[in-house]
Subunit: 257 residues, 2 copies
């Protein structure tokens, strides 16, 4: 049985949840299954990197065959290993919340955690809205929906986040003076925009928000993140993200809606 | 100062986050600000109801004026009160995560919490996708995107969730034999579909998934939830949700994208 043939039913259900929680609390290694692009997988990769985890990256060999064997028919899937035991978790936000909490990136108390989740969800929502209303929308309306996205959703998000970052002292972080899940997710949202064929238009809007730019520089200049972002693997992921989003319908063979 | 004129900067920043966390841990009462429809506010209302909280509901009087005074320029906003102190939190998922955790609806350990978050996020993602690709999409493509949504995203979500619910013993819950945030969010997603002008088509697909129907019945027949769902206020919210989504563009005066 390979990792990618594992689903919750096979692995998780035979063990009491309290035992699975113990594996999650003291993991020895991780394996992250995701497509060979940044998109919804990159924040998990960054969290594993920032946390100094023992982890490996994997991509599906034949996604259409493997899809139904994953817990939700979607990626990323995270395999959490301890000795001969394993826990499998899925759904982007569940995976990212677990990793962020495990590596101390959810703040120092419940108020900070809630605020981090608020900024995080605001960026996640903008990503989802962008994917559905622009990237995967019908080609005949994409020009109009892109214009609407830029003038409304993106402009509003930039204004709101810029204000919060300035209120926090423009120190490159959303909460206090330390790295959090929200910092990393927002940087990946900005990177995602930069990979689009019309990315220059989106980045032009973001470039007018110096505190957001400072946030990106702060996250990307963290020593572990800097090393990872400059690795051959990370550069390849950035290149293949650009190539994928140049024509996502062609890449997936999906019908155009 | 009315509640709706409060933002994070005014209220939260003058108090150390550890003090704000204490207010959140021992709240005396809540006020939830949201539009007078179900949509993104109903899960918070249900959580407050299920938790037996002392809470009141409020709606903006003039949203365009009040918008910039909220933390993210969006609703719901939750005001958490203890004596003369108050914490203001916003962004749907951050509010819902806090309330669910506070009222014991996030499972018994980190594994259960992660699984609850996975099911929850899967339902939240489907909601977001539906809003962006169908409800708020350009009218000229809505028929096509609705067809695509039904045959792909909705069908896939129903299949995946039905399988998990059956694996959990078809007991009306996602995890173990107790109510969770995921149960409540999924029921509100199904209700949201039922409010759409083409709701019958969507409900026809869901009606073929008996474990999802069982989940809805279980949540809605909980004594506190049953009483709340049958109150005049809740019935009015359901009616106004239907009325709103009959023509959402007309209701908001938004341009059609």
């Amino acid at each position: 049985m390979t990792h990618s043939q594992t689903n919750h039913a096979q692995v998780n259900r035979t063990t009491p949840s309290s035992e699975l929680a113990k594996i999650m609390a003291h993991p020895e290694s991780f394996r992250l299954l995701y497509f060979p692009v940044e998109a919804q997988g990159q924040t998990s990769r960054d969290l594993l990197t920032y946390g100094g985890a023992n982890w490996e990256s994997a991509s599906p060999q034949n996604w259409l065959e493997e899809k139904d064997k994953t817990p939700f028919g979607c990626l990323p899937v995270l395999f959490i290993n301890k000795g001969d035991k394993q826990v499998v978790i899925s759904e982007t936000h569940a995976v990212e919340n677990y990793l962020a909490k495990h590596f101390g990136l959810m703040g120092d108390n419940d108020y900070e955690e809630t605020m981090i989740r608020a900024f995080y969800c605001s960026s996640v929502s903008l990503f989802s809205n962008f994917q559905a209303s622009v990237v995967w929308n019908m080609p005949e309306v994409r020009e109009k929906t892109l214009a609407g996205f830029k003038s409304r959703q993106l402009a509003h998000w930039v204004k709101t986040h810029e204000r919060h970052l300035l209120e926090n002292g423009n120190n490159g972080h959303y909460i206090g003076n330390k790295m959090s899940l929200a910092d990393i997710r927002t940087v990946n949202l900005i990177r995602h925009f930069s990979f689009q064929p019309y990315g220059a238009e989106l980045m032009e809007i973001i470039s007018q928000a110096p505190a957001l730019i400072k946030l990106r520089e702060t996250v990307e200049s963290d020593p572990k993140m800097h090393q990872w972002k400059n690795s051959d693997e990370a550069k390849k992921l950035a290149d293949s993200s650009k190539a994928f989003f140049a024509n996502p319908f062609a890449a997936t063979g999906k019908p155009t809606a």
